[in-house]
């Protein structure tokens, strides 16, 4: 995880370091249970293959969100605060897959109350296959004394 990344450190077109993760059955089951997702396609091979018609158990949605969060905040540092995240799961992620997260900065700026924001396009790829795409808006400090987490109801506009 990086230290505190400031808005001024970031430019449109910057790329984030890749993150590679080998997915095992434990990855899938641990993530499902951590997110209290008891649906069987995330832990029961026979259900996933025979009922859902897919090749194996697969990562559940909230856990995939948590992986995106981890990837993004590894880069921002702990003062990075997610505002909005949208992702599309084009294909599922299965045990045996090697996930690679990549991202590019698409926007850098401040809103009219002075909060610094970075836009990111993130991909989760399995080899040549893009399994998920994600767009996110994350707040970064605009200076050493700024902290997006200290923004409250009146000065936090994540959308």
């Amino acid at each position: 995880m990086s230290g505190t990344r400031l808005l001024g450190d970031v430019s449109v077109g910057d790329t984030l370091p890749e993150l590679g993760v080998d997915v095992t059955p434990t990855t899938v089951v641990l993530g499902a249970l951590a997110s209290r997702d008891w649906r069987p396609m995330h832990h029961d091979y026979k259900f996933a293959t025979e009922r859902n018609g897919v090749q194996d158990i697969f990562l559940n949605t909230p856990n995939q969100a948590a992986w995106f969060e981890r990837y993004i905040t590894d880069w921002t540092g702990p003062k990075g605060r997610l505002g909005r995240m949208t992702f599309r799961m084009r294909t599922s992620v299965f045990p045996g897959d090697h996930m690679v997260f990549r991202a590019i900065v698409t926007a850098v700026g401040t809103d009219d109350i002075g909060c610094g924001w970075v836009g990111l396009d993130v991909t989760l790829a399995i080899g040549e296959r893009v399994a998920s795409t994600c767009t996110t808006r994350v707040a970064l400090p605009v200076g050493e004394n700024d902290n997006p987490w200290r923004r409250g109801v009146d000065d936090w506009r994540p959308n």
């Binding site: 997702d37 995106f68 605060r81 949208t86 599309r88 799961m89 109801v153």
Partner: protein, 173 residues
């Protein structure tokens, strides 16, 4: 698809807040540790109380854990059958007689941080239902469900939107 071509039971769901519920248990830190362990997330906000105090004013839950606080226990006394989250999704599967379903899209908009000790409430709103579609999984419909989450102080903590695809596998009818 316009709402008036859908079954009446579905049309009347669109735009109507449903399943207003409060969680069965308080937000607690073990799920923060479980989530961070599952994703190898070393963010010190979640592991170091001094850092949490300095940056987030005390411990918080990872923002993307928003939905887990409203997920029912797998079993509890008096409950019959499978306990499921996102009931509107399962209502639609039943109404359209689509036995299988997957989620395809998820949006999270994050407001006040969720903290240990909070008690989260939510409601679900069906936003739209597509015409019948065929994908490699089978034939069915896409639907969009929004969920709004509040804490015990009635502060908005997040809005989530799911796109689900309920389907019948080819040859399985």
């Amino acid at each position: 698809m316009s709402a008036d071509t859908l079954p009446a039971a579905v049309s009347k769901m669109i735009g109507t807040p449903m399943y207003e519920q409060t969680a069965d248990f308080d937000v607690e830190r073990s799920y923060t540790y479980n989530t961070c362990a599952a994703t190898q997330n070393g963010n010190p906000v979640y592991w170091d109380d001094d850092v949490a105090e300095e940056i987030t004013g005390g411990p918080i839950a990872p923002p993307t854990t928003l939905s887990l606080w409203m997920r029912p226990h797998y079993w509890q006394p008096g409950a019959a059958g499978e306990q499921v989250a996102l009931k509107v999704h399962f209502d639609l599967k039943e109404l359209f007689e689509l036995p299988e379903a997957v989620m395809t899209d998820n949006t999270l908009i994050l407001y006040e941080p969720v903290r240990p000790g909070d008690r989260i409430s939510h409601h679900q709103v069906l936003r739209s239902v597509s015409e019948p579609k065929t994908t490699k999984l089978g034939t069915g419909r896409f639907w969009v469900i929004d969920i709004e989450y509040h804490n015990q102080r009635e502060e908005l903590v997040g809005i989530e939107s799911y796109t689900g695809f309920g389907y019948q596998r080819e040859g399985a009818a």
